[in-house]
Symmetry: C2
Subunit: 137 residues, 2 copies
DNA sequence: TTTGATTTTGCAACATTGTTGCGTTTTTGT
DNA sequence: ACAAAAACGCAACAATGTTGCAAAATCAAA
């Protein structure tokens, strides 16, 4: 399905910005950040417009957001001692309530090992479960 | 282990800001964001200083970062059709290379179901694996 | 208890990311 | 060609995080 038809099938108008975004996704075959798109796109697209293009694509299921690490806006006390220095991975999952926003450690959990492509190596993982806590249920 | 001893055991000096941060973590028993700490802490701590307190605590294994959702800095093309509207969860894991930063979808993967506390309900989950890609290995 | 090296702080300045409002332009079907 | 709807560009703002530097506080040794 080419870019034009894709837009039409979702009732989205054909604009230079949208075509440029789709073209870039077609060329680079990986997840792209807003800034990567901003730089990589041939057209001069306004920064805000680009956000809105991505928003419209997401609402129409053309693309989806991908979590990025180094994002951590929250902190929790470690429940055991750690070596000073290197990132003590704390290999457990976390739960965040959609309503109250509280985030707790699932200390007893263990993030399962996942299969990665040939030649890739795993150093860490991050599992965030979202839903309702007992208070907000 | 009380707050003073904790600081001393890591060679961190005892300051009003650090004690206030530890006190708040002791009172609220959950993960806290920088802004939550900023507001909740009794002492008047400079915003930058608070960042540095958290940094020092993290380096010493006193606390650890917790991933937060609504973070999505990247976007990927959906590999199948989605309904317009509600968050098509795309229940697969993602891999991000530590060196080149490339993020790919592990489309074939499925995020395992995790056990959550009594009364909690799961709506979605987010699994980000980090490591080295074959190009950067 | 004074001193002095070291750590920590506060402040200013800046960068990045994301959002909202609004007037203008572009797209598309008629 | 026309008009309604959609999309855009721009300005302004907010939140989050970073860096440099001078002043202040801490701590241990004298
Ligand atoms: Mn945790
Ligand atoms: Mn994906
Ligand atoms: Zn809740
Ligand atoms: Zn790589």
């Amino acid at each position: 399905m080419n870019a034009e038809a894709l837009l039409k099938s979702h009732g989205l108008r054909k604009t230079a910005g949208r075509l440029a975004v789709l073209a870039l996704f077609a060329k680079r075959e990986k997840a792209l950040s807003h800034s990567e798109l901003q730089e990589g796109v041939t057209e001069n697209v306004d920064r805000v417009t680009l956000y809105r293009i991505l928003e419209s694509f997401e609402q129409n299921g053309i693309l989806h957001k991908v979590p990025d690490d180094q994002v951590s806006v929250k902190y929790a006390l470690c429940d055991h001692d750690h070596e000073v220095g290197e990132a003590h991975s704390d290999n457990h999952a976390h739960f965040k309530c959609r309503v109250c926003g509280d985030t707790i450690c699932l200390d007893d959990s263990e993030i399962p090992t996942m299969q990665v492509p040939e030649g890739y190596s795993v150093e860490g993982s991050l599992l965030l479960i979202s839903g309702l806590c007992s208070k907000c249920a």
